[in-house]
């Protein structure tokens, strides 16, 4: 019955089979869509708000003040001699990017079920656009943090020593984006069938923050528990970030390599699962 030879077909749709069937080339072909999504996120988020992008500033400032009061003034947790305001803000800004990436991408399939159900495009475009648009928020907050840093530095605060390791910031960002995306898409793949995981994300991220040196320096930890915190791949990233901008804490290349390997493994598992799920999720979500 077939009048055309097999090789003329440009696309064959088959039942899901095999784990290693990627559309990474497709993702590249849809790069324009990626940028459109980023633009949409950015434009749409603050439409009909009075303060607009100002909210990007307000959020870390208020959190920093809260942390300074609660952990610094009331609980009196050490900040390694760094002005508490800078110490907490550095943690909040960098941790914020990771946790935003994770929570946003973890709901990919549920928030996009409507559009995914109607048109085909590589699903990975969606979470990728999330981490890119969050980058802009991070950029604004980093700018704010730098302003505070400069203020303290100019006023002769002797404990603040920004140094050459600041150049590592882009690499740290890649690590955070990779980890956030990796964990996020693993969770989002699982939530298509079992929604339980979406409940887990919210407080999971919260708990993870306490296992990361965001509100305390590594040096304040008792030796007994240090290994738990060091096993957390985010620890080295936050610590390096703080070391680069404030000159406090430690810079340990070994820990950073551990984080890098962890990121690659997580992201690979994430992409594998995501790929698998994107073909069947319509029937389960």
């Amino acid at each position: 019955m077939s009048k055309t030879s097999q090789d003329e077909w440009t696309l064959e749709i088959k039942p899901v089979s095999g784990w290693f069937h990627f559309h990474l080339k497709d993702v590249w072909r849809y790069r324009d869509l990626l940028m459109m999504f980023v633009r949409r996120d950015f434009v749409a988020v603050y439409k009909q708000t009075i303060l607009g992008p100002f909210w990007f500033f307000l959020q870390p400032i208020l959190t920093t003040i809260t942390f300074t009061v609660v952990f610094g003034n009331i609980a009196r947790i050490s900040t390694d001699g760094i002005p508490p305001l800078l110490f907490y803000m550095s943690g909040i800004v960098s941790w914020g990017y990771f946790s935003d990436c994770l929570t946003r991408t973890s709901s990919t399939f549920i928030t996009n079920a409507n559009i995914f159900g109607k048109v085909y495009f590589p699903r990975l475009v969606s979470p990728l656009s999330n981490i890119i648009s969050l980058l802009m928020k991070f950029g604004i907050q980093l700018f704010l943090f730098t302003c505070f840093l400069l203020y303290y530095w100019m006023n002769g605060s002797t404990n603040v020593h920004p140094n050459i390791y600041i150049l590592l910031t882009p690499y740290l960002l890649i690590l955070m984006a990779g980890l956030g995306l990796g964990f996020g898409i693993i969770v989002s793949s699982l939530t298509t069938k079992y929604r339980d995981f979406s409940f887990l994300v919210g407080f999971g991220v919260q708990l993870l923050m306490y296992a990361t040196p965001v509100i305390y320096p590594l040096s304040a930890l008792p030796e007994k528990y240090k290994w738990i915190v060091l096993a957390n791949p985010m620890t080295a990233i936050i610590d390096t970030f703080r070391y680069a901008f404030l000159g406090a804490g430690t810079f340990n290349p070994g820990n950073l390599i551990y984080s890098s390997v962890f990121m690659i493994v997580t992201l690979s598992i994430g992409i594998l699962m995501f790929n698998r799920v994107e073909k069947t999720f319509m029937d389960t979500v």
């Binding site: 696309l11 064959e12 869509l33 459109m36 159900g117 048109v119 029937d283």
Partner: protein, 440 residues
């Protein structure tokens, strides 16, 4: 020309009911079967997809062993009742959902218009949404930029192009969305029921565009619709899906005839298509228990000649108290579904009580409608047309088919079109109380 789409033994299994904790058990069973090298145990238990009968299995075949080929440049129609599997088929073709078994081979870029306005963001302006929607459908920025003016022109919403689309009327929304999709230039265009919204003028424009796209540019168009007239005007080949199976496949005229056979088999009962909110709407206070079109001798027919006598006979039952009873019968236009002529009779002015049943027959002595096919509309309601009292049967029965009669006086093409009045009279109207009958 060769085939552009080849659908090969496509089947799709769906699980009914809740996806919940039982799925973990099933996942494990499936995994065990796979480790032992056996077939997926749940593939065996699927049943055909008959919506209105209760099945034994939780799994149904939304599609079962579908085979067909679409030639390059062809306009191909897909029809079927609600739940026949049309949308599932389109979802597989547009790669939104995967098939359970079988394969589809495609030649060229596919763009689907499963539901218009997909990915439109309400906060963004029309302009931004054209770019966003174009990108979602697979166009590059450059392509959209080049076509932007003709997209806006086609949509006819030029004045609103810098207004957020949340302020658009639903018609404007559809116009813009269709305009983007129509300028996609894919080799294969999949269109699903877009014409349900939009006015008659725009519908005509869309059909014209789809025609042009295939005729002038040699693209393949796959068109799904309930609007048989649109299918007839547009498509060369058509398939009918029924309960997930391929019922007929061939030239449109021939297939449409078979489709009417299929709808003719529907006998309207109190529970026919009751959960289908499109063709049957109502809250259940009163229900049709039977609808028949007959000639003056009482033979059931759907084909009539111009100038013939038609009788519409209905039976009904009251389930909850309502104030009086009105029966409305309308003949609709096949393409635009506008009402061509309408008959209305108050069957009762008194309070109707549960258990009461009735029968009414309306006669139209001279059928003055041009030859063609006309969907029919039946409604029962109370005296004040309250929506809670309604039972509506909208294009669920076979359409009224009118052919050229010997008496040519009524088929004058120069007659003005639009709404018109036709003579009719009620020849029977009986209401009996089953409650009292049992008491006596």
């Amino acid at each position: 020309m060769g085939a552009a789409i080849k659908v090969d033994n496509i089947s799709k299994l769906y699980r009914l009911g809740m996806v919940g904790n039982r799925t973990i058990v099933e996942d494990i069973n499936r995994l065990i079967a796979r480790i032992r090298g056996k077939e997926n145990p749940y593939l065996k238990v699927g049943e055909t997809n008959q919506r209105n009968t209760k099945g034994n299995s939780d799994y149904v075949w939304a599609l079962k062993d579908i085979n067909f080929e679409v030639e390059e440049g062809q306009r191909f129609g897909i029809i079927g009742k609600n739940g026949a599997g049309k949308s599932t088929l389109l979802k597989i073709l547009s790669r939104v959902a995967g098939p359970t078994t079988g394969s589809v081979k495609l030649k060229g870029r596919v763009a689907s218009l499963l539901e218009v306005g997909t990915g439109f963001h309400p906060e963004l302006t029309g302009r931004d949404n054209v770019f966003l929607n174009g990108a979602i459908l697979g166009m590059t920025q450059e392509e959209i930029k080049g076509k932007f003016d003709s997209i806006v022109d086609f949509s006819g919403v030029e004045r609103y192009v810098d207004t957020p689309v949340k302020r658009y009327s639903s018609g404007m929304y559809v116009r813009l969305a269709f305009a983007v999709a129509a300028h996609l230039e894919p080799e294969i265009l999949i269109v699903d029921e877009v014409l349900a919204v939009g006015d008659a003028e725009f519908q005509k424009k869309c059909l014209g565009k789809m025609h042009d796209v295939s005729e002038k540019e040699g693209r393949t168009v796959l068109f799904v619709s309930h609007n048989l007239q649109a299918i007839r005007n547009l498509c060369q080949k058509t398939v009918i899906l029924n309960n997930g199976e391929l019922f007929a496949n061939g030239n449109t005229e021939q297939v449409l005839r078979e489709y009417n056979e299929l709808s003719r088999d529907i006998t309207i009962k109190a529970d026919t298509e009751i959960n289908n909110s499109i063709n049957r709407r109502g809250k259940g206070r009163v229900r049709f228990t039977g609808i028949n079109l007959t000639d003056e001798k009482g033979n059931r027919r759907y084909k009539f000649e111009t100038g013939e006598k038609i009788r519409v006979s209905i039976t009904f039952e009251i389930f909850k108290e309502i104030e009086g009873l009105t029966f409305i019968f309308a003949v609709l236009s096949g393409l635009s579904r506008e009402c061509l002529t309408l008959f209305e009779y108050a069957l009762s002015n008194k309070k109707m009580m549960p258990g009461q049943k009735g029968e009414a027959i309306i006669e139209i002595p001279h059928l003055k409608i041009k030859p063609g096919e006309y969907p029919l509309y039946f409604e029962l309601t109370d005296l004040k047309y309250n929506s809670y009292a309604k039972d509506v049967i909208d294009d669920l029965t076979a359409p009224l088919e009118i052919t050229e009669g010997k008496n040519k006086a009524y088929s004058d093409d120069n007659k003005p079109s639009g709404y018109f009045k036709m003579e009719s009279n009620i020849i029977q109207n009986e209401i009996y109380d089953t409650n009292q009958l049992t008491k006596v």
